[in-house]
């Protein structure tokens, strides 16, 4: 299968996502410059971390107007798996592909450290390979990862089981101490209504090899590979309903 790693001016985890997909996972991967209008037949799209357009104005605010975003939206509407990591998550929020917004961390500081997150939902392309409640030890590195949405929106997210990852203790409790940035209800990541677009603040691509501290993040990349290739059918371009995994994976 082929990953497209979108490169915005200011993306800086693009090489890391590429390395994880191509060299650790062993799948095909390609960088796609933000001025492109096509994803080049990719099976999954990664919006990587960084500070697209300098994060000037607001994180992710300008990137959503990049030409490639029209293609990413189309790809998502057709059911294609899209993963936004950190700044990529912020871009998805600004683009309206996921609900809510990011505020400054409650520490008002950039924070880089390992945290624990629990996998709350396993019926997304990026978590099909996880156990429900599985705890992942994955680093965060952000200054604005304090997830916010209006209470009714959060309630709806919970009701629709769209909260995919939550900050927890090592043993899986979503306590306030385990919440590194003040995110509402410890939300670390979520998916859209259709469940194929996932965004999270922690960096799974930085946790794919034990040498760099953890390989807990690799399961997200393995999951989407399984999702795309699971039935031997490459996903590319099919509508969500037609997809062979639609029944098992995309059911609500």
């Amino acid at each position: 299968m082929k990953f497209a790693v979108v490169v915005f001016p200011g993306s800086n985890c693009d090489h890391d996502a590429y390395h994880a997909a191509k060299h650790v996972l062993g799948q095909d991967a390609e960088f796609v410059w933000h001025k492109e209008t096509s994803l080049g037949g990719a099976d999954a799209v990664i919006l990587p971390g960084g500070f697209a357009h300098g994060d000037y104005l607001r994180t992710g605010a300008i990137a959503r107007f990049s030409p490639i975003m029209a293609a990413v939206k189309r790809f998502a509407e057709e059911g294609g798996p899209v993963l936004g990591i950190c700044n990529g998550f912020q871009v998805l929020l600004e683009a309206g592909m996921l609900p809510g917004a990011m505020l400054r961390n409650r520490s008002v500081k950039f924070q880089c450290e390992h945290v624990h997150i629990s996998v709350e939902q396993t019926d997304t392309p990026f978590t099909v390979g996880c156990r429900r409640g599985q705890i992942l030890r994955i680093p965060i590195a952000h200054g604005e990862g304090n997830y916010y949405a209006e209470p009714d929106v959060v309630d709806r997210l919970e009701k629709n089981r769209q909260v995919v990852f939550r900050y927890t203790t090592a043993s899986g409790e979503a306590t306030d101490e385990a919440n590194p940035n003040g995110s509402v209800r410890n939300i670390a990541g979520l998916c859209n209504d259709a469940r194929n677009v996932v965004g999270l603040m922690p960096h799974p691509e930085r946790a794919c090899e034990l040498a760099v501290g953890s390989k807990d993040g690799l399961v997200l990349f393995e999951s989407v590979t399984k999702f795309v290739m699971g039935s031997g059918v490459i996903f590319r371009g099919q509508s969500r309903e037609d997809h062979p995994l639609a029944e098992t994976v995309l059911q609500k």
């Binding site: 994880a20 994060d55 200054g143 090899e209 760099v212």
Partner: protein, 743 residues
């Protein structure tokens, strides 16, 4: 306008020389150009005669001093390109931007060489954190380093921070960057080939930073605050675009040379590139993209606006280069061309406003052999009479006080703000010893450390500088790295004072001697003089950054113990050496005594032993004994592991018997390392150490939940690990809690 040489920081003699070189009065633009190029910061006029004595060659050296950065061969056709640089003065005036632009500047030095930057480190010095102004500076500097490095996506993987009263009004901000290039594709900052176009690319030029270079060459006084407009503002986003675009341009062979516009901006890059290439450069400032209106040629030539590069491109390849910059939304503008006459000619709408031989600004800049005199304080400060200090406090109490000392305490408050993992190469994170990054193109890794114990240098500059080299090299060896190259950042006071110049001369001699003995070439660096406030100099701080090569990235050691039941072995010997120690400073407020003795041959043997022992998997963890001595080092080996330790060491013979325990536990003898080894292999390690001529003593075992130290069977420290770790890990945070820094 009548040029005023004195207002430009030039002496009358220097002005006379300019008149002779030009054969006429300089224009105002020329005077400005001379003033920045002949400033201490750009010309190294006071330091050059000393720097020439440093060892700069070696079989691995691909690029020594004189270029934007040094480079050493790391095998498989790759080179490590690295350098350290100071941004002290700007960081005092505006901590956030001063530190941020320091990071930006050193990153440009590295990618200018054709290397992709993969790691940053920093060495910082501040006054005591009790001072609110210091806390503000400290928080601002850390935020600035984070703001720039994190944004551009280069991990900050290590560093060191020290505190002393003398840095209160003059903090030190030294930033180190390392990049990886193909050894045969290193790019030089040179202009050649008559008629080749000269391109300007990057941010537009504004009036910011004019005379930054001359500011960095003058002491601080009460009017420094008025120099505020001279501080530059960094734009990491612009630099990220420049970085990617330049690396892409370098992959073509359309480039002749490239240099960033750092200190002295367009002036420095133009004449240095011409000088290196033995060519001339002619530019027209009216073509330079400008951010402000009505800028004069003088202002354009002296502006230190950040994130700008000067390129010489092969004639006929312009479109190719312009296309790449366009892709990154950068506008490359042709502002001139290379000539054959060896002159820097600056025009403004076609009229010549400056016409100077390049060499007058570079090779023929003034060089001073400034007078040196041993300062009166040395003899007095080296005298240490422990007995006069009265009875020492109990070891357990001293232990806790030292763990809470900001120089020793955990710097997590700081490095948590740095993205230290981006690029997924970081094998050893900050706070765990030398920073270690793997080199993805190879199976190797690089261990990086920046160090300087300035108290030792103050007490004995020659020995102190040797100790700094030894410590930095030992730190990379503790990770398993063979030291292969060094870069230095020499922070001193006013060189016009013979005492300061003596400190400088002695320190450079010591640094050279140590690097020769340990076979570590110095491939470049930076000198920062005039670090004084109201006539008081900072502690002499010759910081050294060392790069160590780890042959197999899978065999890296950190400071932390790994396995319960492992044997703890002390490599090296404890001596009666409390001179210049953290103990004396923290417990008695003293910077006194002779620094610890150093046997460079034994130090080299110790490092060889460490590299071999780690490479063959014998040594599982290694931690260098530095500030706080043996006891603090043992504690740090336990922190972040949940593993305690129980050891018993022999008493040190002391001149003042009451200080026997103190000297044993907290003395700072050089060439000592605490290592852990699988208990069954203890004898093997001791034998290997002895074969290297190193004393190795098995002193105890890893395990339990306490730190227990006995001297000759008598318990002297017995503290719950959790308590020691709490003191150590919260000491710096405590200065910022409930009184958040006013950023």
């Amino acid at each position: 306008m009548t040029p005023d040489p004195l207002a430009h920081g030039l002496s009358q003699e220097e002005y006379q020389r300019i008149l002779e070189m030009l054969g006429r009065e300089p224009t105002i633009t020329e005077l400005g150009i001379f003033s920045v190029m002949w400033s201490e910061h750009c010309s190294y006029k006071s330091s050059r005669v000393h720097l020439r004595t440093l060892p700069t060659t070696g079989t691995r050296v691909l690029q020594g001093p004189g270029e934007n950065a040094g480079a050493v061969d790391i095998g498989d056709g790759f080179a490590a390109v690295f350098k350290i640089e100071s941004h002290n003065h700007p960081s005092f005036i505006e901590p956030y931007q001063g530190a941020a632009t320091g990071v930006g500047g050193i990153i440009r030095d590295i990618f200018t060489m054709g290397a992709r930057p993969i790691a940053l480190l920093n060495s910082l010095r501040f006054g005591p954190l009790e001072d609110p102004l210091v806390r503000r500076t400290f928080a601002g500097v850390v935020a600035g380093i984070a703001g720039y490095g994190n944004s551009i996506g280069i991990p900050t993987v290590g560093g060191e921070i020290g505190f002393d009263e003398s840095y209160t009004g003059n903090p030190l901000v030294n930033v180190f960057c390392l990049g990886i290039a193909r050894a045969d594709e290193i790019i030089k900052g040179t202009a050649s080939g008559a008629g080749n176009p000269v391109y300007y690319v990057g941010a537009k030029t504004g009036r910011d930073g004019i005379h930054g270079a001359t500011m960095a060459s003058a002491e601080f006084d009460d009017t420094s605050a008025e120099k505020r407009p001279a501080v530059q503002v960094g734009d990491p986003f612009m630099e990220k675009l420049l970085l990617e675009a330049c690396l892409e341009v370098m992959k073509t062979d359309a480039l002749v040379g490239i240099q960033d516009m750092g200190a002295a901006g367009l002036t420095c890059s133009t004449c240095e590139m011409g000088s290196r290439g033995g060519a001339g450069v002619e530019i027209d400032v009216s073509l330079v993209p400008q951010r402000e209106t009505g800028m004069t040629p003088y202002e354009i030539m002296l502006s230190e606006s950040q994130e700008r590069m000067l390129l010489v491109v092969k004639r006929g390849r312009e479109a190719e280069v312009e296309r790449i910059f366009d892709k990154w939304d950068l506008h490359a503008v042709c502002i001139g061309h290379v000539t054959t006459d060896g002159r820097m000619r600056v025009k403004n709408h076609g009229d010549v406003v400056a016409d100077i031989p390049n060499t007058a600004l570079t090779d023929e800049a003034p060089v001073y052999r400034r007078p040196m005199a041993e300062p009166a304080y040395i003899a007095e400060a080296q005298r240490l009479d422990l007995a006069s200090l009265g009875a020492p406090a109990a070891p357990g109490q001293v232990f806790q006080r030292l763990l809470a000392s900001p120089s020793i305490a955990s710097k997590r408050w700081v490095y948590r703000q740095y993205d230290h993992m981006v690029r997924t190469n970081t094998l050893v994170c900050p706070g765990m010893g030398a920073g270690v990054v793997r080199v993805k193109e190879t199976t190797r890794a690089l261990a990086l450390s920046v160090d300087c114990n300035a108290r030792f240098v103050y007490l004995d500059p020659h020995l102190g500088a040797q100790l700094a080299v030894a410590e930095a090299a030992r730190n990379v060896a503790c990770a398993g790295g063979q030291p292969i190259g060094a870069t230095n950042c020499l922070n001193f006071g006013n060189p016009e004072r013979p005492e300061i110049m003596w400190q400088f001369g002695e320190a450079v001699k010591g640094m050279g001697a140590a690097c020769r003995a340990l076979a570590i070439p110095i491939t470049g660096g930076n000198v920062s003089l005039y670090n004084e406030t109201d006539g008081r100099a900072v502690l002499p701080t010759p910081t050294i950054g060392i790069v160590g090569l780890i042959e197999d990235a899978a065999t890296v050691a950190g400071r932390a113990f790994r396995t319960r039941g492992d044997a703890i072995v002390l490599l090296g010997e404890n001596h009666d050496e409390l001179g210049g120690s953290e103990y004396l400073t923290v417990m008695h407020g003293l910077v006194r005594g002779k620094p610890p003795a150093l046997d460079l041959a034994r130090e080299g043997a110790l490092q060889t032993l460490l590299v071999r022992g780690i490479a063959n998997g014998l040594i599982r963890s290694a931690h260098d004994c530095a500030e706080g001595g043996f006891a603090v080092t043992l504690a740090e080996s336990c922190f972040d592991t949940g593993l305690g330790a129980e050891v018993d060491v022999a008493a040190v013979e002391t001149a003042a018997p009451a200080f026997g325990d103190i000297a044993t536990l907290f003395g700072e003898s050089a060439s000592r390392v605490i290592v852990s080894v699988g208990a069954a292999r203890t004898a093997e390690l001791v034998a290997l150490a002895n074969a290297h001529g190193i004393t190795a003593t098995a002193i105890g075992l890893v395990g339990g939940d306490r730190i227990r130290i006995s001297i000759g069977g008598r318990s002297v420290i017995d503290t719950p690990l959790a308590e020691a770790e709490r003191i150590w890990s919260t000491a710096i945070d405590a200065h910022f809690e409930s009184r958040r820094a006013i950023a």
